[in-house]
């Protein structure tokens, strides 16, 4: 009898995934400008979705306020490059660190709330961030500011090179986030997290420090989300409080992606992002009707298929692409 973690499906998926990654990495050589921008957007949403899923699907922390860190990261990018003189790429890393730091007092406060009240608390925090940054006139106040041309030019020589760099940064971000989440879930902390998700009371009685684990997840997610935010606004070249801290753009869409794809699984956000963008490209003209459709689909999925599209696939075929569970194999010699 053997206990293994991987499976034929996972091995095939790994090879397939590597091939896809190589093709994507070569993107600047075969994709046009518009396609590269679209793919960058997909990668960044994928990163946001994977992070939100880690918090909600594994740590049980449902946040409707992650836009706080997306916007914070964006503003830190602007602040660090304009006032700190850092290069944009270094500033992105700086945004991650600062995002983690600011998340500490935030977490200390909102962890006093539970369940849905915690969720609304995260929203209040995002509003506090938004209102605070709207007061900072050095960064444009209520109407925002644009990234100075000199800073943009310093990224690389020539527009094509800059776009390739932006694209690779976005792709790299998605890969780093997914890899980080995957390896984290495979680790001891990750196992603790899964235990907490499955049964908090039992996990606590096993000596797993629930509070600390959730706290760490929140801080790390905040840092990485800030990093994604910095990248987003590096691409947009312009920031304003409403755009930076938009609930629709950075929370509603992300939640729909994760719910539709499959919450609490690594594969879910990937599928969800693909579905979301496919829908957007086909329905984009419909404006607010599109959002209504998304909302309705999310509700139906939550009520009828709470594990999302991936959950449906998995319940039919019982396989994983990211090897996380253990499997017991019985040999014929076991008798």
């Amino acid at each position: 009898m053997k206990v293994t973690r991987t499976s034929p499906a996972a091995r095939i998926a790994a090879i397939f995934g590597l091939l896809v990654l190589i093709i994507l990495a070569a993107g600047p050589y075969w994709a046009g400008r518009a396609d590269m921008r679209l793919m960058s957007e997909i990668f960044l949403y994928l990163a946001l979705a994977s992070l939100w899923n880690l918090m909600a699907g594994y740590a049980g922390l449902v946040s409707v306020g992650q836009q706080a860190f997306v916007g914070f990261g964006g503003y830190m990018l602007f602040a660090l490059t304009i006032f700190g003189g850092l290069s944009p790429v270094v500033a992105i890393a700086g945004a991650a660190v600062l995002g983690s730091l600011i998340a500490v007092p935030v977490a200390v406060l909102i962890f006093r709330l539970r369940g849905a009240y915690f969720a609304i608390g995260t929203w209040v925090m995002a509003e506090v961030f938004r209102l605070t940054f709207a007061q900072v006139s050095a960064l444009g106040g209520g109407s925002g500011s644009s990234l100075p041309v000199g800073i943009v030019r310093s990224m690389a020589d020539g527009r094509a090179a800059r776009e390739a760099l932006s694209y690779w940064l976005a792709l790299g971000m998605a890969v780093v986030v997914i890899a980080a989440v995957y390896f984290f879930l495979r680790s001891r902390q990750g196992l603790a997290l899964t235990a907490i998700r499955d049964n908090e009371l039992a996990a606590g009685s096993l000596g797993i420090d629930i509070w600390r684990t959730k706290f760490v997840v929140y801080i790390v997610t905040a840092g990485l989300t800030s990093m994604v935010g910095a990248l987003i606004f590096l691409q947009k070249l312009r920031i304003s409080p409403d755009a930076a801290f938009s609930v629709n753009d950075w929370t509603a869409f992300v939640i729909f992606i994760v719910v539709i794809g499959g919450i609490g699984t690594l594969e879910g956000p990937i599928i969800g992002t693909l579905i979301f963008f496919a829908l957007r490209e086909t329905l984009a003209d419909l404006g607010s009707t599109y959002l209504m459709v998304l909302g309705a689909v999310a509700i139906v999925i939550m009520l009828k298929a709470p594990k999302g599209v991936w959950g449906l696939i998995r319940s039919r075929y019982d396989f994983e692409l990211f090897p996380l569970s253990y499997r017991v194999h019985h040999d014929d010699t076991d008798k």
């Binding site: 909600a56 049980g60 449902v62 409707v64 406060l109 909102i110 006093r112 709330l113 539970r114 369940g115 849905a116 009240y117 969720a119 609304i120 608390g121 929203w123 209040v124 509003e127 506090v128 209102l131 605070t132 007061q135 609930v247 509603a252 939640i255 729909f256 719910v259 919450i263 607010s288 009707t289 959002l291 209504m292 998304l294 909302g295 309705a296 999310a298 509700i299 939550m302 009520l303 709470p306």
Partner: protein, 287 residues
């Protein structure tokens, strides 16, 4: 004297916030459900009032007679049709379903009414005021505050003096055993949501008279209502009134320092309570 004025205005504003919060508090107390679409439902009621007023030319306050029953029925149907299926131990379904509802309502309003700010015209009452000592108090804020007190008093009376109130408390205590008394919990939850949305309708009408509103106004209403509930303490309607008042006073005092600080001041007051006394001032139920 200016500061006393700000204090009084803030208290009266607290009445409006208490109206926002009462429905939220009620539902959480009975069903442990937090409705993220709550703010959007308040705004929906405002638009409903607007439609009635525009169609019939009646005074906005009279529109209550239509809005309250209409929203109550909507609440019952919503609970019975959708929200009852989300109840259980898992916290994700109710949260995500009500979030989806919030998005749907906002965008439906956007489609139907555009993003233009709207307001209901209540005529003379909007500017009328009475003199109390050296203070000028608006009639509308006084009326709003009085309505809030009246609504909460009526709800409290209902809870502790009627068979329905007993049923609500029993179901809130122990859903399973309450069934043994012949209580159909799906029906009871529907009634609770209907009641909550009826209160929400009152909030929406008063909101629509007092300030301009647009489809995206729901988020702030939810947040103010939520802050009032947390400051006041879970499971206590009078506490919610107190919470609303504290929030209102914080906002008006903040506005006195600088008009741009009004909302932020309210958030800070909320965060201070969260830091210093997270269970709220007069809690009765654990979250």
């Amino acid at each position: 004297m200016d500061w006393v004025n700000a204090l009084v205005q803030g208290t009266l504003l607290g009445g409006l916030y208490a109206l926002f919060a009462a429905g939220l508090s009620l539902i959480f107390g009975i069903m442990r459900l937090v409705n993220i679409a709550h703010g959007d439902l308040i705004v929906l009621a405002s638009y409903l009032g607007l439609v009635v007023v525009t169609a019939t030319g009646m005074h906005p306050l009279l529109a209550l007679a239509v809005a309250v029953p209409a929203m109550a029925v909507l609440g019952y149907v919503l609970q019975h049709g959708i929200l009852n299926q989300t109840l259980g131990d898992d916290l994700l379904p109710p949260l995500l379903v009500t979030f989806g509802l919030s998005v749907i309502i906002q965008n439906a309003l956007l489609e139907g009414f555009t993003a233009d700010p709207q307001k209901m015209n209540a005529g003379a009452i909007e500017t009328a005021s009475v003199s109390v000592g050296s203070l000028q108090l608006g009639v509308l804020p006084i009326l709003t505050f009085a309505t809030a007190v009246g609504v909460i008093a009526a709800l409290q009376w209902m809870f502790y003096n009627t068979a329905l109130g007993r049923a609500f408390r029993a179901v809130s205590d122990n859903q399973e055993i309450a069934q043994l008394m012949g209580l159909n919990r799906r029906h009871i939850f529907g009634l609770a949501m209907g009641l909550a949305l009826g209160v929400t309708a009152i909030a929406g009408i008063f909101l629509g008279i007092r300030t301009s509103f647009d489809p995206s106004a729901g988020a702030s209403r939810l947040i103010f209502g939520f802050e009032a509930v947390i400051i006041g303490g879970l499971g206590n309607l009078w506490g919610t009134l107190a919470g609303g008042v504290i929030l209102g006073v914080s906002q008006t005092l903040g506005a006195k320092i600088d008009p741009g600080y009004q909302i932020l001041a309210g958030h800070i007051a909320f965060l201070v309570v969260l830091a210093v006394r997270p269970q709220g001032l007069f809690p009765r139920v654990s979250g």
